[in-house]
């Protein structure tokens, strides 16, 4: 239903480069990218708030590249929700309906409010609402006009984890109940995994990879995507059959390869132990650094000339009496080694 053909735009410090994309009816596409990747600009180009420098945007086969936002029949939920502060929740939701001169505004508003569980908030002003309530009002205001496409900018990033999980589940239900397509941009891997049929990776204004969630996460197309998706261990070496030689160590590969090859291993796939490990790839390594990153500690482990990064829990670190310079074993299975093309 929505198709982008080589859309580019440069605006202030942000840039969108040559984006080609297609979203089908009732598809939920998540675009994942770090902050500053141009995700918001990307949505606002589709919404019609900015016009692309080059390229075309088509909706149901019709060129809408230069159509103003009010003629595109889509809805946009910005990151801060942008509820109209001078209007009540009811008037916020009714805003789009009144403009469309729909006969039974009250009925429509009450219906969508019931679906989203905000019927008791209709008389309130936005500033009295909690984050989760504001989010629901924003979703109601967007969906009540029955848009073909819903654009969401980091919709769950300002919410606590419980509210977020609940809303993500509700979004899934709404999608099948009200049948709209959605384009959702986020920097959160969890959100992308939980929501998307399809996920696209946006880095520096480029749509680098797009595909099914499982596929993108397991087979990043290049090491930029891999790094962003959390592959902390990326090595380049020369492959011969199922063996990759990297700076003097040999790593067993999941499949045969030849010539210069890059591989990625997630830090959570690497086992660390004082004793010998039974695994397909085992190395002796020296602990060179600790880094506390919240729930886990990231270890830097040196073997030969290469450095591995691995996650361990804080209690594990304590039990092992781990110190800098200590010798340990590290291991990982070949199935956790990803070969990038």
């Amino acid at each position: 239903m929505l198709k982008l053909e080589k859309v580019s735009k440069s605006w202030t410090e942000f840039e969108i480069k040559n984006i080609c994309l297609e979203i089908g009816d009732t598809e939920y596409l998540t675009i994942l990218g770090p902050s500053g990747a141009g995700k918001t600009l990307f949505l606002e180009l589709i919404a019609g708030i900015y016009t692309p420098d080059s390229g075309r945007i088509l909706m149901d086969g019709k060129d809408i590249t230069s159509l103003p936002p009010e003629k595109r029949n889509l809805a946009y939920i910005p990151q801060n929700y942008a509820l109209f502060p001078h209007l009540t929740v009811y008037d916020n939701i009714a805003y789009g309906l009144k403009l469309r001169k729909i006969p039974n505004v009250r009925k429509e508003v009450e219906e969508i409010a019931k679906i989203l569980g905000i019927s008791h908030l209709l008389h309130r002003k936005p500033k009295t609402l909690s984050g989760g309530e504001s989010q629901r009002v924003a979703i109601a205001r967007a969906l009540v006009i029955k848009p073909k496409l819903l654009l969401l900018d980091e919709p769950f990033s300002n919410l606590d984890i419980q509210t977020r999980t609940r809303l993500i589940n509700e979004m899934r239900k709404l999608k099948s109940q009200l049948r709209f397509s959605a384009l959702h941009v986020t920097h959160s891997l969890e959100e992308a995994i939980d929501l998307g049929d399809t996920v696209g990776i946006m880095l520096d204004g480029e749509l680098v990879q797009i595909g099914e969630v499982r596929e993108v996460f397991s087979r990043p197309v290049n090491d930029r995507v891999a790094k962003f998706l959390g592959f902390d261990n990326i090595f380049e070496g020369v492959a011969e059959g199922r063996i990759l030689k990297v700076d003097g160590i040999s790593i067993k590969l999941p499949a045969e390869a030849k010539g210069r090859v890059r591989i990625g291993i997630r830090p959570e796939s690497i086992l660390v132990s004082k004793n010998i490990i039974h695994s397909e790839n085992v190395f002796k390594a020296k602990v060179t650094a600790f880094e506390d990153i919240g729930a886990v500690v990231r270890l830097t482990l040196k073997t030969g000339d290469i450095e591995f990064r691995a996650f361990v829990t804080r209690s594990f670190l304590f039990e092992m009496g781990m110190k800098s310079g200590m010798e340990v074993y590290i291991g990982f299975n070949t199935s956790d080694v990803y070969v990038f093309l």
Binding site: P68, P69, Y76, Y95, R141
Partner: protein, 249 residues
Amino acid sequence: MPRRSYIEVFFAIFGSFLVIYIVLPIAFILIRQLAYPEMLINALHDEHVINALKNSLLTSTATVIIALSFGVPLGYVLARKEFRGKGAVQGVIDVPIVIPHSVVGIMLLTTFSNRILDSYIGIIMAMLFVSTSFTVNSSRDGFLAVDEKLEHVARTLGASKLRAFFSISLPLALPSILSGAIMTWARAMSEVGAILIVAYFPKTAQILVLEYFENFGLETSMPISVILIVLSISIFILLRWVIGKYAQA
């Protein structure tokens, strides 16, 4: 008492000098006039005084309406658009504040000569010149404080640019715009220098004060001064209160 509090107390005492300095003359003239209430009543029955007050209120209100109709669109453009020469435009708007008001009168008369001499138009033009920047600047600040995303969302929900302006941006910027308009009104009511040169007639209250003072002395100019003070301050307070209520709602 900790040392910091001493400093704050000292600053507060020091700073209240200015507050007292402003309140004192106002209180003094009001109290002095209360001693001679019959002069005040006479002034209120004086046809010259009543006509002059009418002229002042009429012209300053007209000034506000003109300032709003041109200043709000200008303020919106200054808040929303980046363009070459924006700094210069902003500078021009602020220029009237630095020009002595008698000079403003001379400039207007030089430019428009007899067409504005001694007319309502002349009074309004003098008032507009010295007071319009308040409305433009506070409109701009008002629109700057309205998140542009609100307009964007209104557009995607089906509003045209103009509709989004009138239904979203304008109501949200209104308290700021109106407090600028009150400043414009107050500034217009208190203008003398430029009016004196451009339009001595039709006589406004602020000019009448001057005339009574020069012809009959301090005592005679006092009642009309008191009427002007009371009128201006009450309208000022009333409007501020109404806007405060609106902004809270």
